[in-house]
Structures are given as C-alpha cells and as structure tokens.
C-alpha cells in the first residue's frame, strides 16, 4: 500500500498539485507512515524527477515552480510530525541568497531559492539590493555554507565582487562558498572575481550547490 502511496506522492509533485500533495501527506500520517520516508521515497523522488525532466526539456519553468510549490505544501504537513519524532529531514546545507547591491531584479534569484529549498536546502533569502555587509552578517548569524549573489545588470555585477571581498575580509571563506548567477554573469566573470561557482539557471544552481556540499551526483 505504501508503495502505491509513494507513487501517488511522486505524481502529485510532478503534476505540480499542492492540494493533492498535502492531502497525500495527511493520508500518510493517518496511516502511520514515517514522514521522513514519505519525503525520501515519495515527494523528493518527484522533485528529482521534475528536475531531470526540466533538464532534458520535457518540463518547463512554470511546471518546475508548480512542482516546488507542491513540495512545499507536502513538507508543511509533514514537518510537525518529523519534529516530534526528532527525524528532521536532512538539510543539504544552509544558503544565504540575495541580489547584488543596487539590483532589484529577483526573478532568477527567486527561482533558485524555490528549487533549492524544494530540494532540501535551507534558504535564507535576503531579498533585493543586498549590501555586502548584510550578506556577511547573515552568513555569520546562520552559519551558512553557501552565499549566493544574483545580478542581472552589468552595472550591478560589481556588487558580486564586493560580496566575495567582504566574505574574504571577514575570514568566512573558504569555509563559506560564494556562488553567483544572473543574465550577464559568465564563468569568466566568476573566475575573475574568485567565486566558488556560477550557474546559468536554477537547475544548474542545484547541481552546483550539491557539488559544493560534496553531495553532488556528478563531480565538480
């Protein structure tokens, strides 16, 4: 019976159906299914599948976002029970995100936050136009593993460099990894400013973050 339930969980994520996912989560709890198992064998398999489908061009960004929303809905139902059992879902890592100082464009950053969060990272989203000092303060406060800085504009890309320099100045690197993204950002720019990584889109960002945490599916 559980296998069938796990299959339906997977499907609810792939379908991007938050109500259905929440309902299945409640059903699992009612049936005494271990909530962690519901995540690992059901919902999380769905989000991985959705990511793969996106990667090969079968699913699109709106589909992927819907999958992430469904994942959130399921986790929200399961979380209290997981806490009670002390079996909290393993966090892949803590990531502080924000757009560079002066940049208010956050669509890409939000995509990254959603996908990474759905995939098991703990996200601390500082929003838009974040100063290097704010990045540093948050990274210290939450003991972050990764700091991600997004910049759409060529004029605000300098803000990414400023964050990396601030992390260095405060002695947070190399323990804290710095990653960057944004329309105008290139791997060359990433190398130039000494970033630990760069990705072109949210799915690549997930792979990048996993690799930096030593939990990647492919080697960096």
């Amino acid at each position: 019976m559980s296998d069938q339930l796990f299959g339906e969980m997977l499907q609810s994520i792939v379908d991007g159906a938050p109500d259905r996912a929440a309902e299945l989560a409640r059903q699992a709890l009612a049936n005494g299914v271990d909530p962690l198992e519901a995540v690992n064998r059901g919902f999380a398999v769905g989000i991985t599948f959705a990511g793969d489908q996106f990667g090969c061009g079968e699913m699109f960004l709106p589909d992927l976002l819907a999958s992430a929303e469904a994942m959130k809905a399921a986790i929200k139902v399961l979380e209290p029970e997981m806490l009670k059992r002390g079996s909290q879902r393993e966090t892949l890592g803590k990531i502080v995100l924000g757009t560079a100082r002066g940049d208010i464009h956050d669509i890409g950053k939000n995509l990254v936050a959603t996908i990474l969060s759905a995939s098991g990272f703990q996200i601390f989203d500082l929003g838009t136009s974040v100063t290097p000092e704010q990045f540093v303060a948050k990274a210290k406060e939450v003991d972050a593993d990764i700091v991600g800085v997004s910049a759409l504009l060529t004029t605000t890309m300098a803000g990414q460099k400023a964050v990396i320099e601030a992390l260095d100045r405060n002695g947070l690197r190399p323990r804290v990894k710095a990653i960057i993204g944004g329309a105008a950002v290139t791997s060359k720019w990433a190398a130039e400013i000494g970033a630990d990584g760069y990705s072109r889109n949210a799915i690549d960002a997930l792979e990048l973050a996993k690799n930096l945490m030593g939990k990647g599916t492919v080697s960096a």
């Binding site: 996106f54 061009g57 699109f60 960004l61 709106p62 208010i104 464009h105 669509i107 890409g108 995509l111 504009l153 060529t154 004029t155 890309m157 300098a158 460099k161 329309a183 105008a184 290139t186 060359k188 072109r200 889109n201 949210a202």
Partner: protein
C-alpha cells in the same frame, strides 16, 4: 502606399488602454521617493511608495507630449525624426561582451571595441544614430562613471546622433554636461538635441528610484527621453502577449506622467524592449517572433496615442554570427520596419543581448537596408504619359510600362533605356559585397562571415575621425575628470587621459 502590418484592432487597442488605466489605479505603480512630492502636488495619492495615477491626469500629461521631434548631428542638421511612420535604426546598447572574430569566443568588451563599433556605424547609412554600444571593461566597468565614459568615447568618434542612457541618478548630469559642451551650450542642446536617453521602469509597474530620478532630470533639462519598458511575458508580466502589451502601456503611461509633470512639453518616446520569457532558460529570447510581435504591438499603442515610438529588434539569441542570427535579425528588422517604429535599436547583438559582434552589425545593416526598401513599398515612377499633342493625360498618371514598351517594342532591350539607368538605383537596394550574388567562379565560395570581416576592416580603414575643437575636447576631459573625482574613481580619471589610439 506604404506597406504596414498591424496586429491590433482599434477595439483591442481601446481595451489595452482601458486596462492599463485600471492598472495605474489598482494595483498602482511603485515609484521612487524623488517623485512622490511631484505626484502629490498633482493630486496623486501615494501610499508606501505606491502611486495610484488617475486617467484624467495621465491624459492631461499625454496632451503635452510633443508629437514629433528631431535629433541633430554635430553639424546641426536634422538626422533622426521621431514621429509619424519614419523608421530608423541604431545599434544595440550597453553590451558587456564582444565576439572575437578569430576565436569565435565571447570576451569582455573594451574601449577599442566601442571605437570600432562607432567607426563602422559611422560609415553605414543604415544607422541613423550611434549608441553607447558596449561597456568598456578595460576602463569603465565596473566604474561608477562607465555611462559617462561611453558617451565621451562616442562623441569623440562620431558626428551622428546618439542613443544612450544613464545608469545612476547622480551620473546623468555629467552626461548632459558633456552633450551641452558638444552642442555649445545647454540651451543649444535643448533646441537641437543630439542624444536621446533610454530610461527603464522595472517590470512590473515599478519606477525605481533612479529611473524616476532620471525622468525628472531629463524633463527639466529638456533632453529627449525614451521610455524602455521591458515586460517579459510569463516571467515579469502576464504570459499573454496582449497582457504584456497592457503592462507595457501602463508602465509607459506612468513614466510619461512623471516626465511631463516635471517638464511639460519635454520630448519623450513611447519605447520598449518587451520580450517573451523563455520557459526553459528563464532568459529573454530577443530573436523570437513573439518578441517582435510584442514590439510591434507596443508601438501600435504608442502610435494610436500619437507619440514617437521605439523598439528593440534586429537582435538574435544565437551565440555565433550564423544562419540563426541572420534569420532572426532580418525577420525582426522587416517586422519592425513594417510596424513603422521610429527607432529600432538592437543591431549587432548576439546571445539575447549578452554579446556584441561588429561583423553581425555589418550583416544586420544589409537586412536593415532590405527592410527599409520594403517599407518604402512599390512606387510609381515611370514616364508621364503624354498625349500626341504633348499634354499630360487627364489624371496626370504615369505610365508603368507602356512608355518604355513604346521605345523597346518587342526587342527586350530595357537595359539600354535611359529610364533604366535613371531609376534602377531608386528601385533596387544595391547591397555591399557582404551579400553574395555573384556567379560561381573558379575560387571556392566564401561564407558571409569571411566576407564581412573583410568589409569591417575596409570600413575601419576608411574611417576618418571628426576633428573636434581643442576647447571642446578640454571641456569633455574636465567633465570626465570632475565626475571621476566626485565618484572617487581614480581609475576612470586615468582612463580619461589615456584615450585609445586611432
């Protein structure tokens, strides 16, 4: 008859505007603090940075916008006409990377690239205006005065009008000063503007601090502004094309209101760089046909309001100057021309505006020339029909073919006719050697990229730098140094002194 394509019915334009006016009231428009007082004094309610702009005020502001205006070249001649159905082109702006024609790799753009682009653009009649095309990573990026530096370079190397833009609220004044120095005085600049400044709202419905500020400063200086609203359909705007055109209209109407409140009668353009949102990459595919459709439709709404228009076309998503680049760029050049958009920006751009190629710019010039030819349509320019007694015929019409046949009979010797010699240059666009129409010879055929590289070299070798009076150059330098000091940017200061060699 001038050929036209229209995508919107009058009824649909009416609906778009009705909904745009609704959006301006609810949810309203986010505005920078710089304009709050101005809006409030016009009776607009602003709460928590969100303004609800009523239609009557917008209508009043629309009424004070000039229906048309000109940009002037350095000789003081009218060189760009914003208004009516005139169609003109300029290269894309502010790219950060340059395609290296040897390695076919993208590398950070530098001052020498901007100079080369300006030199080539100067020589090509297809471009009515220059643009501050690429960031100069060697000197100005990420310097705070990069925008000023780019204009400084373009003004030294070109006599044409310039499409430019400022990237900070504080930086605009330096650019206006530079243009005033070029024109002779701030008054002269106002009377015969040489540049237009792109000013961008942030989708959706957000006139940020610096965007708002720029609109105000430009309106007060009387220097033309071009609102470049860029909804991304499905990403930062409604997924439907009609919905994105509506958002574009609301953002642009809000901008025009701010601008005209600050400087009634100051010239402003209904421009835009709308695009669809790519559902795989999250990018803005500039070569997509829907992106062209958005540009055409947005311009149609502007034309309906009687305003000068601008759009962002002739760009591609390809990373190379290849068949995709040619197809996408030529297609949108044609569509933009048939939509009668006054200024079409974007030529030379690759990779969804992430990379510039001077070779592509030269190929695009050929597509643009074809589009311009198409937009002129089919004209009647045969011989006037004469009666036997030598009077013109009753309706004053011209013969299309009969007068020429009267001379050739059935001999087929049209090549000999004086009409042929007199009219073929008007009838046909004569492409540069970039376009291959030759018969196959003994040499293996060359590809367009190879031919274009030679053409770029040729144009650059024939280029002559304008000779600016010493005192103007000194003024330029003083402004750049002053702004560099203000920004505490010694690097840019040094850059100003060490100009690139010709």
């Amino acid at each position: 008859m001038r050929p036209r394509i229209q995508l919107l019915s009058a009824e649909l334009i009416g609906r778009i505007l009705r909904e745009a006016f609704e959006l301006l009231m609810s949810p309203g428009v986010r505005v920078g603090s710089a304009v709050v007082e101005l809006l409030q004094s016009a009776g607009v309610e602003v709460n928590d940075g969100i303004a609800c702009v009523p239609e009557p005020l917008v209508r009043k502001c629309l009424a004070s916008v000039p229906r048309d205006f000109y940009l002037y070249n350095r000789r003081g001649e009218k060189a760009v006409h914003y208004g009516g159905d005139d169609v003109q082109f300029d290269p894309g702006s502010c790219c950060v990377q340059m395609l290296d024609p040897d390695t076919l790799e993208a590398r950070p753009s530098e001052t020498r690239d901007l100079v080369r682009i300006v030199q080539v653009t100067e020589a090509l009649p297809q471009f009515a205006a220059q643009s501050t095309a690429v960031v100069c990573s060697d000197n100005d990026a990420p310097s705070a005065i990069g925008d000023l530096y780019r204009l400084f370079i373009v003004l030294q190397y070109s006599d044409k009008p310039v499409v430019t833009g400022s990237f900070s609220a504080a930086g605009l004044q330096g650019m206006i000063d530079l243009l005033a120095a070029d024109s002779g005085s701030a008054d002269r600049l106002r009377q015969q503007p040489r540049a237009v400044f792109d000013v961008c709202p942030s989708p959706p419905l957000n006139w940020s601090e610096f965007g708002s500020h720029n609109l105000l400063d430009l309106a007060r200086a009387g220097v033309p502004a071009e609102i470049v609203s860029m909804p991304l359909a499905g990403g930062t705007a409604p997924v439907t094309l009609a919905g994105s055109v509506t958002q574009h209209a609301a953002e642009t109407l809000a901008g025009i209101t701010l601008h005209q409140l600050a400087g009634p009668g100051s010239p402003i353009v209904w421009g835009g760089a709308p695009a669809i949102f790519d559902m795989r990459t999250g990018g803005a595919p500039m070569g997509a046909v829907e992106t062209a459709m958005l540009n055409m439709a947005c311009a149609e709404v502007g034309k309906h309001l009687g305003l000068p228009t601008q759009g962002y076309l002739v760009a591609t998503d390809s990373k190379l100057v290849d068949a995709q680049a040619g197809a996408e760029s030529a297609r949108s050049a044609m569509l933009g021309a048939l939509a009668g958009i006054n200024m079409i920006s974007g030529a030379g751009m690759l990779e969804s505006l992430a990379c510039f190629s001077v070779e592509k710019l030269v190929i695009d010039a050929e597509s643009i020339a074809s589009a311009q030819r198409l937009a002129r349509g089919i004209e009647v320019r045969g011989e006037e029909v004469r009666d036997d007694d030598g009077r013109g015929d009753d309706v004053g019409s011209k013969s299309l073919a009969t007068a020429m046949f009267a001379q050739t009979g059935l001999s087929g010797e049209f090549l000999k006719l004086k009409e042929t010699r007199a009219l073929f240059r008007q009838e046909q666009y004569l492409p540069s050697p970039v376009i291959d129409r030759s018969a196959r010879g003994s040499e293996p055929p060359s590809d367009v990229f190879t031919r274009t590289r030679a053409r770029v070299d040729e144009l650059v070798s024939k280029y002559q730098k304008p000779s600016l009076p010493e005192d103007v150059l000194r003024k330029f330098q003083a402004i750049v140094n002053r702004e560099a000091d203000r920004e505490g940017d010694r690097e840019a200061d040094r850059a100003g002194v060490a100009l690139p060699r010709d």
